[in-house]
Symmetry: C2
Subunit: 179 residues, 2 copies
DNA sequence: CCTCCGATACTCTACGTTGAGTATTTTGTA
DNA sequence: TACAAAATACTCAACGTAGAGTATCGGAGG
């Protein structure tokens, strides 16, 4: 997945590892992608060896230098391959840590469990607020003309968070009723 | 997460790595957990070094032997810690591979994209069917007395798959309308 | 003019995951 | 009873992730 993001960005224009990190940070991909610095540089190095990307130029700034990578023909073909795979592979992702926590919830006291789930609820509320804020910013930046696919993704993210909120709410009610 | 599952199971009774794999496979945790063999043995070895689990006994069968692990006092404390963390950490998980595929969907032809998304739709339908089947089996095995928390988890899984299905449907419609 | 803080650009190592691979034992079946 | 297939039990190396750590550079305030 890191590879798709990195290749996809390099296909627009040559970038350095740091640039990629920045663009990712500013784009909404940061929220759902969660790709960290280490993975980006690793992917670049790896893909360079595989001939999917190549160093375009090296910019010098005093004693510091940065490598600008560009995508190769082979890399573009690989990108298409990867995009296809991403689209067709089953995409359900369950909140497995929460599930495992709930599965073994009897291992801790009812009170401790409730406290933890209240934190969970707060975290979800924050997530929702940040998402909302992110979309407002995006809307403002694009003067209310967000591309339809991006919009679909946003809507899906909202739906996922909402679903998770109602799930946690039910779990809390269940625990509270057992008091 | 592997650790919670492994510790949680060992807290019920001593098991070997292979046993853990089997129990996981039979339980519904296999569906959402997706913990692989390698990870289990790795977790066991690691936790043994940390004093969270210990070898309870070694069963000999001819020239083959299997190590039965048990949880330690320290491990039980750690398990409680972990369960708490699992419950309180924000649990939203977005389908990031699908998102990245959709983000770069212009990199492939409209037709290829649609073909891939039809596969995605099929995969989701299969997932739904398997989930349904899994719950029926569970219901039968427990003679319709599934514990409420397990039931909540099942319901949440259904909701997630359904949400994903409607998302993919919308994406498909969007692409078809652009033909 | 200096200095200190934050941005820039990347390195490095520890860690968990993944699944193919290995070797033994049991089971079905002819 | 003999043989192949399946189950058992685990090993191992390659790989990606993670994020603390290192070092340089630019600019704002004293």
């Amino acid at each position: 997945m890191t590879r798709v993001l990195v290749l996809g960005m390099l296909d627009v224009q040559p970038l350095s590892g740091y640039d990629i990190q920045q663009v990712l940070r500013l784009s909404d991909a940061e929220r759902w992608g969660g790709v960290l610095i280490g993975s980006i540089y690793h992917a670049l190095k790896k893909m360079e060896k595989e001939g999917l990307v190549a160093v375009d130029s090296i910019e010098q700034t005093g004693h510091r230098q940065k490598a600008i990578y560009k995508i190769t023909k082979k890399g573009q073909a690989h990108l298409q391959q990867l995009v296809g795979e991403c689209l067709e592979a089953s995409s359900v992702s369950y909140p497995s840590t929460l599930y495992s926590g709930l599965s073994f919830i009897e291992k801790i006291s009812n009170d401790d469990a409730l406290t933890a789930l209240y934190h969970q609820r707060d975290a979800l509320a924050r997530e929702y607020a940040e998402l909302d804020n992110g979309m407002r910013l995006k809307n403002a930046a694009m003067s209310n003309h967000i591309p339809p696919m991006t919009n679909l993704i946003f809507e899906n993210m909202f739906a996922i968070v909402k679903q998770q909120q109602s799930f946690v709410e039910k779990a809390i009610q269940l625990l509270e009723s057992e008091k």
